[in-house]
């Protein structure tokens, strides 16, 4: 029987090498592309009619738009509008990536730390750059909140710096760990179903319940990723 971790294996589909660097088109890349095409098609075709009263498909597009727009407005404010396309893309990319991963025999690219870390680093470097561009060197005040007694600075600054620097890793690890753990758990219980014969109905019920839970987690982690991006963006724009 295949190991529960077998599902996370990267399988090259087309071998590509760019300047000696492996850039093969893998099952992970395929799922990313399906996500891109799926999100684009869903969003684009659902509002082709541009009806005043939305149908079901148009409602999906509009709901996702207003969902992310409200998230951004509540957490960042009016200044966040500029970054709406990025947050929206991030949210949809992670959400649909997670959801497509729930289809049996597909692949969940968000279960790879390198992918989540890549996205988290983009968020981290992006928000830090925005912070320095907006506040200049004043942004360093972020590490020493207003009204802090000066004798606490030697203690507080390292803590603040450390907590700031761990942001991309916590952001990346949260998504990666949730997806990996959930899918591994599903696979382990799935293995029991076949192995236990008639009693296998018990792990089967567990798998059904866990699938529902994993669908929730898939949405929730996309939401958490997007809302933390909003919060980091708010920190960069408005400091504390």
């Amino acid at each position: 029987m295949a190991s529960p971790l077998e599902q996370f294996r990267i399988k090259p589909l087309v071998d590509i090498s760019v300047g000696g660097v492996d850039a093969s088109f893998t099952n992970s890349a395929l799922m990313m592309m399906i996500t891109v095409v799926g999100v684009s098609a869903l969003m684009y075709f659902s509002m082709r009619q541009r009806s005043l009263i939305p149908g079901r498909m148009q409602s999906i597009a509009e709901l996702s738009y207003t969902f992310v727009a409200n998230m951004l407005r509540n957490n960042v404010g009016a200044e966040g509008r500029k970054y709406f396309p990025f947050v929206f893309t991030l949210f949809m990319f992670v959400l649909i990536g997670n959801m497509l991963g729930m289809i049996p025999y597909s692949f969940t690219f968000t279960s790879h730390l390198i992918v989540t870390l890549g996205m988290a680093l983009v968020v981290f470097i992006g928000t830090t750059t925005i912070g320095f561009m907006k506040h200049g060197l004043h942004f360093f005040h972020f590490f020493l909140p207003h009204g802090t007694p000066i004798y606490l600075a030697p203690l507080l600054i390292p803590i603040e710096v450390l907590s700031y620097l761990t942001r991309p890793f916590s952001l990346a690890l949260r998504l990666f760990a949730n997806m990996t753990a959930g899918h591994t758990l599903l696979k382990v219980f799935g293995g029991f179903v076949a192995g236990l014969g008639i009693i296998g109905i018990i792990p089967l019920a567990a798998v059904v319940a866990l699938t529902g839970l994993e669908l929730l987690v898939a949405f929730l982690q996309a939401y958490v990723f997007a809302i933390l991006t909003c919060i980091y963006l708010n920190d960069a724009l408005h400091m504390h």
Binding site: I10, M33, V36, M92, F93, F109
Partner: protein
């Protein structure tokens, strides 16, 4: 775990960049502006409709007020007209009544005078005729005709006793 095999990192990162940039481009260039347009248009249509409804409501309220004013005026006018025609009719009726009463009184007086005259005439006629009949009766019984004055005197006497 396959996740910690560094040999699969570079293709994933490269394709992550490719797909994310592609999705960002499609979203920011085609999808989101269009969605925003749709939502804004709807917002505009709703607020426009609301404003129009507000205006129409105001107009309707004005029309109702004007209508009520007209109704009140008409009612007051009708009331005044009824009052005045009522008064005129009463006055007319009183006049006619008085006129009729006068004429009737005149006619009654005339008729009474005529009746009185007729009665006097009739009474006189009866006396003469009674005298004639009495004279003839006496002549038939006695053979001689009594003097007219005597007969008249006797009749007068009898009438006086009878009455």
């Amino acid at each position: 775990m396959p996740q910690f095999d560094p040999s699969v990192w570079s293709p994933q990162i490269i394709w992550l960049i490719v797909s994310f940039v592609a999705l960002y481009y499609i979203m920011s260039r085609f999808v989101l502006p269009r969605l925003n347009e749709i939502l804004e248009e709807r917002e505009f249509r709703i607020s426009d409709s609301l404003r129009r409804a507000e205006n129409l409501k105001e107009e309707a309220e004005q029309a109702v007020a004007a209508y009520e004013q007209t109704m009140a005026d008409a009612r007051a006018k009708a009331q005044a007209q009824v009052q005045s025609s009522h008064e005129r009719a009463e006055r007319l009726a009183a006049e006619r009544n008085a006129e009729l009463g006068d004429r009737l009184a005149d006619e009654i007086a005339a008729a009474e005078a005529r009746i009185g005259a007729a009665r006097t005439e009739a009474v006189a006629g009866i006396r003469d005729m009674a005298a004639e009949v009495a004279g003839l009766a006496v002549e038939k019984l006695v053979g001689t005709r009594p003097a007219a004055e005597n007969v008249l005197a006797a009749i007068d006497d009898t009438l006086k006793r009878a009455s």
